[in-house]
């Protein structure tokens, strides 16, 4: 580098953001792209269910009963003679809703709780983490059952209850992340420039913890969707006439030998979605994981 001279390069500085670079890197990772495309297709299909579903949502044909996949019914029909493809589309709406909303609830609570505890350290951290340990020790499944039994079953309660179960791990992950990032010198530099702790937390620390957050989210969504299915299996989750992939799978599992398609198609829908979620998640984490290359 020559000695500093005062010449000003005139070309315009256009805003290149972290996300633009991440998108470029993501496109190179074709597994993640496949995952993203599949996910988009599923979300589109599910949200457009009322318009693209081949049959009326609850059109029953009792005389028909359970029939194998045919031209009329691509995925066959359930024991009520209702078109399985329609059921899967409508069921998908709830399963994905549960998956994303409950995970979002878990993410928001978990991230803020974990980062505050991690950043403050000392007694505050001890108290907050003791609270998390208390919640960890509670047999949460029992509380969800009791909550469902006591307050009856409505969707929002289900989301909140599941969200309340999942945020604990997120809080722990965030805490360790924040604690290690806090030691980094750029946080000390930020303090020395006079930034307030809150700004440092949200502008400097949390963006650098995005990697583990992404990984955790891609692991939580499947477990949340399965938790909903588990509750519905026990008769405590989704109520008819609403349905969800989990419910369809549990009904399908009962008559697996006679009507295998009642199990295969909802199972495939769930597995496909979760696979693409995981591939996308891994891809995103690598893309956002800006590794400083030493030499």
């Amino acid at each position: 580098m020559s000695s500093p001279t005062h010449h000003l390069a005139e070309e315009d500085i256009e805003a290149s953001s972290l996300w633009r670079d991440a998108r470029l890197r993501l496109q190179k990772n074709h597994l993640a792209v496949v995952g993203a495309v599949a996910l988009v297709i599923v979300i589109l299909a599910v949200s457009l269910a009322p318009w693209i579903a081949p049959y009326e949502y609850d059109a029953q044909d009792l005389n028909l009963g359970a029939t194998a996949p045919s031209a009329a019914h691509w995925f066959g029909t359930d024991i009520f003679g209702r078109d399985l493809l329609t059921q899967i589309l409508y069921g998908g709406r709830i399963s994905l809703a549960v998956g994303f909303i409950a995970t979002a609830v878990a993410l928001i609570i978990g991230v803020s709780w974990g980062s505050v505890a991690g950043y403050c350290g000392g007694r505050i951290d001890a108290v907050m983490m003791r609270f998390v340990d208390v919640l960890y020790a509670l047999p949460f499944m029992i509380f969800i059952i009791l909550l469902m039994v006591v307050f009856g079953r409505n969707m929002i309660l289900l989301f909140l209850a599941i969200g309340a179960v999942e945020w604990l791990t997120m809080a722990r992950i965030m805490r360790t992340q924040v604690q290690s990032l806090k030691q980094k010198e750029f946080v000390e530099a930020a303090t020395s420039t006079g930034l307030s702790p809150l700004v440092i937390l949200y502008r400097h620390i949390i963006p650098n913890a995005v990697g583990p957050m992404i990984v955790y989210t891609t692991l939580t969504i499947p477990s949340v969707m399965l938790l909903e299915a588990f509750l519905s299996f026990l008769g405590l989750g989704i109520q008819p006439p609403a349905t969800s992939w989990g419910l369809l799978i549990s009904y399908g599992a009962e008559t697996m030998e006679e009507y295998p398609w009642l199990l295969i198609f909802p199972g495939a829908a769930l597995t496909l979605t979760l696979f693409s979620l995981n591939f996308l998640g891994d891809g995103l984490r690598d893309a956002l994981d800006v590794r400083g290359s030493k030499d």
Partner: protein, 547 residues
Amino acid sequence: MRISYSSTLVALLALTLSACGGGEKNVVSGNATGYLHYGNGAEPQGIDPHLVTGVPESHIVRALFEGLAVKNPITLEPEPGVAERWEISPDGTVYTFFINPQAKWSNGEPVTASDYVWSWERALHPETGSLYAYMLFPVVNAEKFASGAIDDFAEVGIKSLDAQTLRISLNAPTPYFLQLMDHYSTFAVHPETVLKFGGMSDRFTLWTRPENIVSNGAFTLKEWSLNRQIKVEKNPHYWDKSSVALEGVYFYPTENVVSEERMFRSEQLHVTQGIPLGKIPNYRAVQNSPYVQAPYLGTYYYLINTKKPPVDDVRVRKALSYAIDRDTLTRTVLRDTAIPAYSITPPDTLGYNPPKLFSFDPEQARALLAEAGYPDGQGWPGLEITYNTNEDHRKIAVAVQQMWKDELGIDVSITNQEWKVYLNTVSQGEFQVARRGWIGDYVDANNFLDLFLANGGNNNTGYANAEFDDIILNQAPKAASREERYQLFFQAETMMMQEMPIIPFYTYTSKRLIHPSVNGIYPNLMDSLNLKYVRLDPNQRLDLTTE
């Protein structure tokens, strides 16, 4: 390093798996040793005749204890039990039972009349809290004693004249009284054994433990490992032990009906308690199929809360009932495992047949609905069906909802409530239409019709008709003959059904799988099982090849 490592692992896994071979089949070993393996449906609450309710419990209590009179396994008519004979006074209000001197407790002591006096006092005592206390209410002063109005049991109409004779006086002639003697809540228990482990009406005593229990039935309790199995063996002191073929019985708490069917198919069970609806067509297609179905003394119906609009209008109630195609419902959703019902009492209840006032008639239903002010469903304020979380109730509710939508153009919502919440909702009357099933306690129309008495405990419909009450409470019991009595019941049932306080759907059927090696389980209306008559034929194996 990699190849050798993983291949040894796979070999190891395969080895352990094949070595087990699934173990000895229960049915095969059972047939050889005379032990029946019985799927009992749930872990019984207990086996104290005066404390328990529920079908799984009744199977075990009836194996261990025996009433004064028992039901004939085929005709269900009363036959001698602990009492070898009995006399009924001309006016039908005094019964004298003569106890069989051979009838003994499992510890060898004879069964005496005073055992019964003591046992009925225990059954009726408020603190015992027996839910079936009302079975003995036909006895003089029994209801007063049970509700605590009187506390001297001597005033209750049961006396032991001597060790072998028991006299019972009733409030009014009760033609079905002998059948009550076969209901386990009226069985006798061994007073000394009960008192040895606690007070007369203590619920926490250990007298029913295998090592303590004394019973007078065909079998005695040998072993009870919680939630695994209950083992009973032949009672050497039973008075009729010569006609008991089985050496013993294993009862299994097969709660999950899907798993139970799998256990049957892999020959781990002789008899199952139920069967998944989806599997019935396959089993019907099998030669000499193990699937056994028989009418069962019970009706599935919807309660209507006649106080709540829009179902406070009888025309609306009729419209709702006429719009249901019961034949299609039972054929498709219930796989022909139920008989369409058009009234409360099941058909052929010891000769009595209920009236049939209507059939599937959509046009008339629509006309009635229009007449009531909702032509083709316009202005329909909506209706809610409430049911308790259960797979079959869900299927029926969804089907009915659809039928009413298609036939009457009305929108109906379904809410599914957890069992206790549901009971609470129904008893508080916070429902419009609610699912209900009633299983008869004894084979007599009275047990169904008394559900609709104005102040009957189980009448949640709000239906009240003085004339109806008068026939049931006063006229029918005094009827000279059975025909006259049935004639009065028919008249009362017609009057009630014209008001349509309920929407009957179907009469239950008992449906189970019975291994070909088992005979002596006779299908009857009460689905009452008397293990005394069961025999095992070892050289019959399960063959599920379809025709």
